[in-house]
Amino acid sequence: MAAPAVAVSALSKYFPQVDLRRLFPGHRSRGVWALRGVEFALEPGESLCIVGPNGSGKTTLIKLVATIISPTRGRILIHGRDTAGAPAAARRALGFVSCNEDSFYGRLTGRQNLAFFARLHNLNPVRAIPPVAEVLNLAPYLDYRFYTYSTGIKRRLDIARGILHQPNILIMDEPTANLDPIAAADLRQLLLGFQEQGKTLLTVTHRLEEARQLGRTLAVMVQGRLRKISPEEGEDLDDLYRRTVLEGDDHAS
């Protein structure tokens, strides 16, 4: 049996606060536990959507899976391999869409930006960029400077960067944030297309309806703990979310 695409076990993350007073006796570091014992597994082709209040640890979780930050405790396996021991192998399997527009070079064109990151993936940009640009309908825009793009084009370019190396796992942090309703709907269709291609999706969002559309599995992050939820047919997702966040309920597992 194939290993899960992503398997997270007993994952905790503590952010210590750098404080020079700690050097003196009697002063202890005051940090934050962002994640506490998170567990989940995603089979290949599965889609998990995580919602949760601001500061609940959603972004921390996906940055840990993407190997951008390191865990305090616990393990993350990508296709059965521990990311701590084989981060480069994990990065080859993962595509991360940070939705940080500043993480591109504004003076370079979209094509030049993609070419830079393609080369860092050991890819030939001439071969790697066109298929991705076609899927994302980016071809007409690629030769303009990045700073001239609208938010929608920038977001598509961000996704293009994430899938340049054809990863089978895609991690996204609020992919439709700041997009107008039509652009957001188009993007959701695109992401559903990725699901149909068998890609494993791990998405963080604040939009509950979007979470229902994108996530075959839904989870709510509350104070660093992940609770899977299973809304029943016709159940009000807003209400279920609110109850899970505020009180916890029978649907939480």
Binding site: P16, N100, Q112
Partner: protein, 268 residues
């Protein structure tokens, strides 16, 4: 590896030429700089002669070599930290680390363009110096000058990597680039021979790698001394490189681990 190095070279060149006026002006400013020192040299002609005898006697050729090497040293000291600061500030460092690219590849490849740019700067200095101001370079020993230039870079690069490590953890207040950079310009003999400094200050000067690089380069360029004559300078610069490079890379790897632990890789 080569593809990744090419990626950084191409990226930095594309960014550079996207600011065309600055790209052209950096060469024009060298001409203004040299002109200033040319006339300063004429003013000092007699007064400075006793100090400049060991370097051929003229102030302008003396300061000309100092200015050219200072541009080169700046690459070693500040290129890595500038790249890392920009990458942290914008999030591009995080994006690069999401690719299967090692930290050491990012560090070394980030200075490649500036290294070639500094080499070109030196050639421009040589061109302007010889073409406009009559600096005689026919006697220069090119192999010795090339070895000294390379070692000047490798001896300063670890200091730049240490500076970048500091920035990764503490974000601001980097002591390496600012203090060492200023100290080098003041004490290493860029603008005046070390002999004009108090004796105890000269002792500090000889602790700086730049002092040895500059002394060797002046011997090679102005007096035509070969590799054998500048062997002491080569040995000292090699010593700085061998001692500091592994240390700085270890410090950088530790700094990245700290930044990942603290979650501050993309904070500034």
């Amino acid at each position: 590896m080569l593809r990744k190095m090419a990626a950084f070279l191409i990226r930095d060149f594309q960014v550079e030429v996207s600011y065309p006026f600055a790209f052209v002006w950096q060469w024009g400013s060298i001409l203004f700089n040299l002109t200033t020192f040319y006339f300063l040299g004429r003013l000092l002609a007699g007064a400075a002669a006793p100090y400049l005898g060991p370097y051929g006697g003229g102030y302008f050729p003396f300061v000309f070599v100092g200015l050219a090497l200072a541009a080169f040293q700046d690459v070693g000291l500040s290129a890595v930290s500038q790249t890392i600061s920009y990458g942290m500030y914008t999030g591009t460092l995080e994006a690069m680390l999401l690719t299967p690219t090692s930290i050491s590849t990012i560090v070394f490849s980030s200075v490649l363009y500036q290294f070639f740019s500094a080499l070109l700067t030196i050639l421009v200095y040589v061109g302007f110096g010889a073409g406009f101001f009559g600096v005689a370079l026919g006697q220069a020993n090119l192999p010795a000058a090339a070895v000294l230039l390379l070692l000047a870079l490798t001896a300063h690069l670890p200091l730049g990597i240490l500076s970048a490590s500091f920035i990764l953890v503490f974000k601001r207040g980097d002591p390496f680039t600012v203090i060492l950079g200023k100290l080098t310009i003041l004490l290493a003999g860029v603008y005046f021979p070390l002999q004009v400094l108090p004796h105890w200050v000269q002792t500090i000067s000889w602790l700086l790698p730049f002092t040895h690089a500059l002394e060797g380069l002046r011997q090679a360029v102005l007096l035509g001394q070969g590799l054998r004559a500048v062997a002491p300078q080569i040995a000292i610069l090699l010593g700085f490189t061998v001692l500091l490079l592994p240390l700085s890379l270890a410090a950088f790897a530790w700094a990245v681990r700290q930044a990942k632990r603290l979650g501050t890789l993309s904070q500034f």
